[in-house]
């Protein structure tokens, strides 16, 4: 992950250009997974030692990607830069909460960036799950030998999205890339709110079925 022209994007672009996507390029498959491990190590060095060198290296690896993501979501350079610094500040402060068994590095960074955007751009409160809440019901059993692969996950997600009908994929894209609520999507597409909701319901339950159980494979 976090490589230029990384393998993960190939699935989608191949689908768009009508070329059959071939997953047997194993030499490319390995590289991103190593990268995720490297990032995980850097985060754990930050968590355990407040290691500033590790943090600087982490910043070099993920900073440009986070900034690019924030700009894709519509922030200009100045705002994206500001948000990026806040995201990295949270990475520093919350590094000990990162749990690789639960999420990929990119997913963890996404949730931090999401929350910063809500906080700083929308100036809204974001009530969210307290992972330390004693009331939390235990997770469903997962096999102990299930090993997480960020790389596999990434391929599966792109595959899963590309398997959706175009109109559903479009709504998913508007939800994530354009950060739009159901009512705004309905207005923009001139569709009844109920139709937007039921289409996203179909798409999201399909994605859930396709991806669940594969996330931690």
């Amino acid at each position: 992950m976090f490589l230029e022209n990384s393998f993960e994007t190939i699935g989608l672009s191949a689908k768009l250009s009508g070329i059959n996507y071939k997953p047997e390029k194993t030499y490319k498959l390995l590289k991103p997974a190593v990268k995720d491990e490297e990032l995980t190590n850097l985060i754990s060095l930050v968590a355990s030692n407040k290691d500033r060198v590790a943090f600087s290296n982490l910043f070099k690896l993920v900073g440009p990607r986070i900034k690019g993501y924030l700009m894709k979501l519509g922030s200009n350079d100045i705002i994206a830069e500001d948000l990026l610094q806040e995201v990295m500040l949270t990475v520093w402060r919350k590094s000990e909460t990162f749990d690789r068994r639960k999420a990929a590095v990119s997913t963890w960074l996404f949730t931090i960036a999401r929350n910063k955007r809500i906080d700083m751009l929308r100036k809204e409160i974001r009530p969210q799950l307290d992972p330390m809440d004693p009331m939390l019901t235990p997770n469903q059993e997962e096999a102990a030998d299930e090993k997480y692969s960020a790389n596999q996950e990434s391929i599966k997600i792109n595959d899963a999205i590309s398997m959706l009908p175009d109109e559903q994929a479009k709504l998913i894209k508007m939800t994530y890339y354009e950060d739009k609520s159901h009512s705004i999507i309905a207005k923009e597409l001139n569709m009844p709110l109920g139709t937007v909701k039921s289409r996203i319901r179909l798409a999201s339950s399909r994605l859930k079925k396709l991806l669940e159980g594969h996330l931690h494979d």
Partner: protein, 220 residues
């Protein structure tokens, strides 16, 4: 066991970060109880992670890292001051994300407002009334039967204590009832325990959902 879940498109919107604060509150509270929906949110967050991962890169400014280290030095001073501040966690049978927004007291409903018929309520102001979304805690006495009613806009009801039942079945702790169509219901609160719930609704102050008639009366 949770029987009534939050719809996947709402979980996805929560994961993507585009639910209103009140809807985020009820989702976060529900997934404290519900491992299945919590897992779904993780799946939807990983879609966001995937999009981030596949974004084009844009070089940060040259002073970016230095600025971050300056901020780090500043917050470390702050953090030593703030470490002692604890959150409002008085009620151990309420998800802490929700408890944070409730008034303290010896009993959950001690500082809530009193309505007719022994009903108590407390409005949680998350600042999203401009988006026409509202969050309200309700405590309904045991065996309270409500008249037939329908509803227009979306309304979510999360049971926190006791429960209720209607034509569609029974709703117990952790279950969420979602109403967004014009169904008719005759809910009745649990005959022994009554029902404490969080209700989140869209639209003007006109409840038409499960406990809508009660809320409308309270608002008069």
């Amino acid at each position: 066991m949770i029987k009534h879940h939050i719809h996947p498109e709402i979980l996805m919107a929560y994961a993507a970060g585009n639910t209103t604060p009140s809807v985020s509150l009820i989702v976060a509270s529900h997934i404290t109880f519900c491992a299945e929906c919590r897992k779904a949110v993780e799946v939807y967050e990983s879609i966001g992670g995937n999009l981030l991962e596949n974004s084009e890169t844009v070089e940060p400014s040259l002073s970016s890292l230095d600025n971050i280290f300056i901020k780090i030095d500043n917050i470390e001073v702050e953090d030593t001051f703030n470490e002692t501040t604890t959150k409002n966690r008085f009620f151990n049978n309420i998800p802490s994300v929700l408890s944070d927004y409730l008034p303290d007291g010896n009993e959950l409903t001690e500082k809530w407002k009193r309505g007719i018929g022994g009903i108590k309520y407390f409005d949680i102001d998350l600042g999203d009334f401009k988006q026409n979304t509202h969050a309200r805690m309700l405590s309904i006495p045991p065996g309270k039967k409500l008249p037939h009613h329908g509803h227009e806009s979306q309304e979510l009801t999360l049971v926190l204590h006791g429960g209720f039942r209607d034509e569609n079945g029974s709703y117990n702790v952790g279950d969420v009832a979602i109403e967004d169509e014009n169904n008719l219901h005759t809910p009745i609160s649990d005959p022994k325990e009554g029902c404490v719930c969080l209700v989140v609704y869209e639209g003007k102050l006109k409840f038409k959902g499960f406990f809508g008639p009660i809320i409308n009366i309270l608002n008069k």
